[in-house]
């Protein structure tokens, strides 16, 4: 029972901390993060931890992404990687909380699998960030829209790479994981 509580509480805390990481990254990247934004994000994260299967997680993550509209134009700060870690952590924690029936614990192998996957997801963000750093470097001739469109294409390439490398190994029938 204690292990079950610890497990679910860890996931709920991950949802909350993920939101804070995202807002902290926006702030560190030079964006404005007023108090009401922190309060809204915190309230939505708490609601996400309580109702992970509802529409609230969408609002919470949407708020986290929208906070980046306050970031300086055209800059891909390294702090976006902290935000990516927070957003991925929050989303995966909500996903695991929604997977389980009410009052059930999340089995350790499943948590371990999703921790590995979260790492891959964050790496895909990292790859995209590295590509963005290259493409958003001042070249003089390219328009911002063109550069961002190229970045989207690069992002899609990173997605393809993650699919190729990020699928969990499926043990053969009869093999215990």
């Amino acid at each position: 029972m204690t292990a079950h509580l610890n497990g679910t509480w860890a996931l709920r805390v991950a949802v909350l901390v993920g939101g804070w990481c995202d807002l902290a990254a926006v702030h560190l990247a030079g964006g404005e993060t007023p108090l009401w934004l922190w309060a809204t994000a915190t309230a939505l994260s708490i609601a996400t931890a309580a109702r992970p299967g509802s529409l609230v997680p969408l609002l919470a993550l949407g708020t986290m992404l929208a906070a980046w509209l306050a970031a300086p134009d055209g800059v891909v700060s390294a702090w976006v990687l902290l935000a990516a870690a927070g957003v991925v952590g929050s989303h995966v924690a909500a996903l695991l909380l929604d997977l389980r029936p009410p009052r059930a614990a999340v089995p350790t192998p499943l948590v371990r699998l999703w921790v590995r996957r979260s790492g891959l997801l964050w790496l895909s963000s990292g790859a995209c960030w590295a590509a963005a750093r290259v493409t958003t470097a001042p070249t003089g001739d390219l328009e911002a829209g063109v550069r961002i469109s190229a970045l989207v294409l690069l992002g899609l390439g990173a997605v393809g790479l993650s699919i190729a490398l990020g699928t969990a190994r499926r043990p053969a029938a009869g093999e215990r994981g």
Partner: protein, 428 residues
């Protein structure tokens, strides 16, 4: 039932679209970096979209058990695309699932996922157990199958025998073999006396010491050992008081059924023939027989008992089919008039009838909260009437003993054995 997209997949898709549109429209490349993980999740989720429905099967280790025992239910889900299986079990007061196993999420690491659930039987009867809901999630949590209702299965819980033992002999042993001492001499083990040798006596019964002393051959005589016919008449016309299952509070029917189980077990163990008659919503008759199979049969009939009054009950025919030497043990809280009437008629017909009072020392109920309520007054009037009826039964020579487990019947059986030696009139 079909696979449907999970909220996580919808969320990832919406966020990917919104973030990419926002990035292009507002010129925020950081949003593309943040959208990539969600795009990966959408793509992998769709990539692993399951094509076949999972196959669900449930299996029980035992479907017939005694009160206080536990059985296990195995729920197997076969699906090559499943990544996790969630199972939410329902639990009832008398068929309990441990709290830690009521809701389970199991990781599927191969084609078949098996979830083991313990089910504890708390009260006798036939209970529906193992019902619940099941959901299967595909790889990368893209699609979910369910919630699928897991059908419940009937589990027969046989009554636990209350502790019981008796040392008294049956008043009318009538059979051929058994543990009761007969009044007639025979080939038993119990010493009866010494008499002069007669033609037909076995040589090994010669008592040499007496023969030498008297100068004539003397033989030892022994009492024959016979079995007895015991009929358990179970009054299931009412069930009063709360029932919390084995180890908890017991209702009148709980005490009655467990006492019947204990008496049947005791008498069958010592070789008696035991029969069962149930006075309830469904009246049942189990003819008197001996043996372990009869014990199981009696327990199964007891497990099927439901309290309630029969549509038609003719107590005047109650003694039909009962042997002349049968001992009828009427297990009843003695609250229904039909039960007391049956008891009186059985005694009048010449059978040895004993009332075993299975009502608790103090019945609890909603009437206690309001002593002046109509319910409370009605109950007090009924109890006064019951006292009058019990006094009348005792005056008619019918022994009434309160069920208290071991030794309940010792004194009354001893008195009946003595009384059986005296002549008496019977109306048949």
């Amino acid at each position: 039932m079909a696979w449907s997209a999970t909220p996580a997949l919808w969320r990832s898709g919406t966020l990917t679209t919104a973030a990419l549109l926002g990035a292009v429209a507002a010129g925020r490349p950081a949003l593309v970096v943040l959208a990539v993980p969600f795009a990966v999740l959408v793509t992998t989720g769709l990539w692993h979209r399951p094509s076949t429905d999972p196959q669900v099967a449930t299996r029980w280790s035992h479907r017939r058990l005694r009160e206080g025992e536990a059985t296990t239910m195995l729920t197997s889900v076969t699906s090559p695309e499943a990544e996790s299986v969630g199972l939410l079990m329902s639990s009832s007061p008398y068929v309990e699932v441990p709290p830690a196993q009521r809701a389970v999420l199991a990781a599927s690491d191969s084609g078949t996922t098996t979830v083991l659930t313990e089910v504890h039987a708390r009260r006798w009867g036939v209970h529906e157990a193992g019902g619940g809901q099941l959901a299967v999630t595909s790889s990368w949590s893209g699609f979910r199958w369910g919630p699928w209702p897991v059908p419940s299965s009937p589990v027969t819980v046989l009554p636990q025998g209350a502790p019981f033992d008796a040392s008294a002999q049956a008043p009318h042993p009538v059979g051929l073999v058994g543990a009761h001492r007969s009044r007639q001499d025979g080939t038993g083990r119990e010493f009866s006396g010494i008499r002069e040798f007669a033609a037909g006596d076995r040589l090994r019964r010669i008592h040499w010491r007496s023969s030498l002393r008297t100068g004539r051959l003397q033989v030892i005589t022994t009492n024959a050992e016979q079995d007895s016919e015991v009929i358990l008449l179970v009054d299931a016309m009412a069930d009063l008081g709360p029932s919390a299952g084995v180890g908890g509070e017991a209702s009148t029917l709980d005490v009655t059924v467990r006492a019947a189980s204990a008496l049947a077990e005791h008498h069958l163990r010592i070789g008696d023939r035991v029969g069962l008659r149930v006075l309830g919503r469904i009246s049942t008759v189990v003819p008197a027989r001996a043996g372990t199979r009869q014990h199981r049969r009696i327990l199964e009939v007891l497990a099927l008992i439901h309290s309630g009054r029969p549509d038609h009950l003719d107590v005047t025919r109650m003694h039909r089919g009962l042997g002349a030497g049968a001992v009828v043990l009427v297990l009843s809280p003695l609250l229904a008039e039909e039960a007391t009437a049956a008891l009186a008629l059985l005694a009048r017909s010449g059978l040895t009838a004993v009332a075993v009072d299975t009502s608790p020392a103090e019945l609890t109920g909603p009437w206690q909260a309001a002593p002046l309520s109509p319910d409370a007054l009605a109950w007090r009037i009924r109890m006064l009437e019951r006292d009058v009826q019990l006094r009348a039964l005792r005056a008619a020579g019918i022994p009434i003993v309160r069920w208290r487990g071991p030794g309940t019947l010792d004194e009354v059986m001893l008195q009946l054995s003595r009384r059986s030696a005296a002549p008496r009139a019977a109306i048949r």
